[in-house]
């Protein structure tokens, strides 16, 4: 059951990314190109995505466990540390360079050609080496 709904969530996520234009690297770069020919499409994507999720967070207020019994992740005290700042800056740099963030890179893996596969391989390498680079321990966002 857990795996089925995980697969379903992943599928809706993937199709949403495809439809939204997030897997088009030129649209992503156009969105970040505030000083050039700015493309506002991603504002609609983010805005559209936040609405159902904001409702979902409201629904979690009256319950402590999810439908399948797992405890609802609860927010921890916000820590605005160096890892968050430097990590997000690095992410923004790589996102603009390639036009890919992790979700759309997965969603377009089947139809994105060799370039998408190279990006994915490099992404996985980066994810693998990060804990081994002694930048400190991860800061949780929810527990």
């Amino acid at each position: 059951m857990r795996l089925l709904f995980s697969l379903l969530s992943g599928s809706v996520f993937g199709i949403g990314l495809l439809i939204s234009g997030m897997t088009d690297t030129t649209k992503v770069q156009g969105w970040l190109d505030v000083f050039g020919a700015w493309d506002p499409t991603l504002a609609f994507v983010l805005g559209g995505a936040i609405i159902p999720m904001a409702i979902a967070w409201q629904l979690t207020k009256s319950r402590t466990t999810a439908v399948l019994g797992t405890p609802i992740p609860t927010p921890v005290d916000p820590v605005l540390d160096r890892r968050l700042i430097v990590g997000s800056a690095l992410f923004g740099i790589g996102w603009a360079l390639s036009g890919f963030c992790p979700g759309p890179a997965l969603a377009s893996l089947s139809y994105g050609g060799l370039g998408g596969l190279i990006f994915m391989a490099a992404l996985l390498v980066g994810m693998y080496i990060e804990p081994r680079l002694s930048f400190g321990t991860p800061t949780p966002d929810a527990a």
């Binding site: 993937g14 949403g16 970040l32 050039g36 504002a43 983010l46 019994g69 980066g126």
Partner: protein, 144 residues
């Protein structure tokens, strides 16, 4: 309606689906839908406890668009042919998202929707640095 570019409507519709997926994953599975967290936990071993749940999610994220690509025309990713840029971009996104504990889906969608300070700060920073890269490398140096 005729004045609204069709891309914006696709963006909104696709965005609603992304949010629906995140809402389902939270309310049914009790998990945060962050692509970098789900994937990163599989890669570095930190997500061993729920590896199959992660793998099922990733299978859907890759597989569902793959099915669409078989039966319909998938949009082009228009990805750069510059392999060095792709490798540097990929490694930097991998390191950065693990360091910050989130990317566009985790900090952007799941974080902002609950007014998380970390989510909002992370999103502002990656947008700022993304914008700076475009300014310097596209308009300054003409590289990308």
């Amino acid at each position: 309606m005729t004045n609204i570019p069709i891309d914006w409507l696709y963006g909104l519709g696709g965005g609603l689906m992304i949010g629906l997926a995140a809402a389902m994953f939270l309310l049914i599975n009790g998990r945060i839908m962050g692509a970098s967290g789900i994937l990163g936990g599989m890669v570095d071993g930190s997500g061993r406890a729920n590896l199959s749940e992660r793998a099922a999610f990733v299978a859907g994220t890759i597989g569902a668009p793959a099915l669409i690509a078989i039966f319909a025309n998938a949009p082009s990713t228009n990805v750069t042919g510059n392999i060095a840029v792709l490798i540097i971009g990929g490694v930097v996104v991998g390191i950065g998202t693990r360091m910050a504990n989130g990317c566009t889906s985790g900090h952007g969608v799941c974080g902002i929707s609950r007014f998380s300070q970390r989510g909002i700060v992370a999103t502002l920073i990656y947008l700022l640095f993304g914008g700076l890269v475009m300014l310097v490398l596209r308009h300054g140096l003409g590289v990308i």
